[in-house]
Symmetry: C2
Subunit: 327 residues, 2 copies
DNA sequence: TTGAAAGCGATACCAT
DNA sequence: ATGGTATCGCTTTCAA
């Protein structure tokens, strides 16, 4: 590994000048700077990250802690964070908060020991880690007071509900996997909020058994709102085998806009998270803190959008009358 | 940030002793070592990664370059690599080879500048990058001569084919997305290899249009082998709307065992990659090189396994006779 | 068993 | 415009 000293001695100059030239601060004559640059590439010089980090006190690396990069959405977020960080000249060190709060804590600790300049953490299941050693940005839901950047799951839920209201649906089934998940709860809450007073709805959790779709349909339900694309897909396929075609008999809407949403027939109408924006704000916020411009660390909330596809359609006239059923 | 010197002066001893004690090399008296450890935790000492890296010439960080962490399987691999690296006391810096070979090259360069000790690279689309600056492990297919750790896509293809042969199927449709993908080609090749002489088959690529499933079924096809779960899912849902039930009318098999394989109805029979083993070998190999035990850098190939689920079933007696159709 | 001191590579202050 | 030099925190010989 060549270092600045070797470039310097190769040119018969001082190491300090080499540093100045390479830093491009303009303290060196254009001529010498060029020769230094030439020599550097000639020797294949690569600046030592360790040397620089030791002197400057900054590693140029930020840590990313997520519950499980295997879960949907997280890979996209990681990808986007890496892209944004790269634009800022920062690297991203990943760490998995394997199972539970302890894993999260030790993952954070490990990152700090590796000398990261800051940490972006997507907290594990409603936990709200506080990091004191380095600047950090918590990416969670608006209901978490420590969350700096949040995905507006309630708004996403409202979006799903209003989209189907506009299509004329009035009787809904809301399905989640797990009532203990704050994210799922927020989504369901948002749906319920938008529906209250305008339509009838029932909330079901698959952890307590899969709903009887035929019965629900017979009772007037024409639209099903789910908390995930996977769940929406399951509903559609289950319905299909029972003879209920989507979107003719029932409209179904998913969440997260996974790749599968475009791969299945009918394609899935889905509520799509703005991962790009989430990552942008997370990195920007952390970068601002790192650049001493720590003043604008205001919380921000990122909305979902909707992708209309084939799994949702207009309600049949039969189901349009809200007075047919009690609220 | 407290450092060793502060611990030393706080205890009225030398910094060297602190270093020795904390390194646990046993050169220090048990008693003193304990007091040093106590003082360290008291002061909240965190060793400086930069200082250590500068001195030892090793950062304890390895880079992971992948085409697109958004694509299926890659997140799992990244996750597994991070886990394995963690066991070895190594961190993982991720980098995306955004679009094409250039992005890959610059991603690798960026990692080197960040001072990684080694790089694991999953090459972009059949490229075969050669890294000279640091030790590296290429994770690709057996057909790539530079690949150190390979996933045996051909074997996976054979596995899919033989599984359906054993169920009595004889007339097959092989579907891929893109004939330019080496991975997909290997999988298809493996299928064709296992089928040749035992059954009839046709290969189709969705990039040239989606096959007419009704026509194929009418022509005797009872099993469809795909190169991905997403494609399998599309086939199943498309077939369902055409009145072809899976697995009664046709058996369908996917690849990669994505989470969705267990979430849809019918659940997907799928060829599952051993990401854990792939990552284990990748990290182990790199770690061996880093530990100077560079001798055993033998290439290794990791086989796929199969997860039998609901999307495949026995062929109906009608389709069992191979003589009904020409080879 | 413990300490003194050199040095890893880059940077920034202070001279010249 | 350029050079000398101290310094960041840690490790590692060599001495005591």
């Amino acid at each position: 590994m060549t270092n600045q000293k070797q470039i310097a001695s190769g040119l018969g100059i001082s190491a300090a000048t080499v540093s100045n030239a390479l830093a491009g601060k303009g303290r060196v004559s254009k001529d010498l700077a060029d020769r230094i640059a030439a020599k550097a590439t000639e020797l294949g010089y690569v600046p030592s990250a360790a040397g620089r980090a030791l002197k400057t006190g900054r590693s140029g690396i930020l840590g990313l802690v997520m519950p499980d990069i295997t879960q949907p959405v997280f890979p996209d977020f990681a990808h986007a964070v890496e892209g944004e960080a790269d634009k800022c000249g920062l690297g991203v060190l990943i760490a998995n908060s394997r199972g539970g709060e302890d894993g999260q804590a030790s993952a954070i600790k490990a990152l700090i020991q590796r000398g990261v300049d800051g940490i972006i953490v997507v907290p594990h299941r409603g936990t709200s880690p506080i990091i004191t050693e380095v600047p950090s940005v918590v990416v969670s839901t608006p209901s978490d007071p420590n969350s700096i950047v949040s995905a507006n799951h309630r708004q996403g839920g409202r979006l799903a509900a209003t989209a189907l209201l506009e299509l004329g649906h009035r009787h809904f089934l809301l399905i989640g996997d797990d009532p203990l998940s704050p994210v799922q709860m927020d989504r369901i809450d948002g749906m319920a909020e938008a529906l209250t007073g305008v339509g009838t709805f029932e909330i079901m959790w698959t952890s307590r058994g899969f709903p009887d779709l035929v019965e629900k349909h017979g009772a007037g339900v024409s639209a099903i709102l789910t908390v995930s694309d996977l769940l929406a897909l399951r509903v559609i396929t289950e319905a299909a085998r029972l003879g209920l075609r989507c979107p003719d008999a029932i409209s179904v809407i998913g969440f997260d806009d996974l790749p599968l949403a475009k791969a299945v027939r009918p394609t899935l109408t889905s509520i799509v998270p703005d991962t790009a924006e989430l990552s942008r704000r997370s990195v920007a916020c952390l970068n601002a803190i790192l650049s001493q411009n720590g003043q604008d660390v205001r919380r921000s909330i990122v909305d979902f959008t909707i992708a209309h596809r084939e799994s949702t359609g207009p309600a049949s006239p039969l189901n349009r009358n809200p007075t047919r059923r009690k609220q």
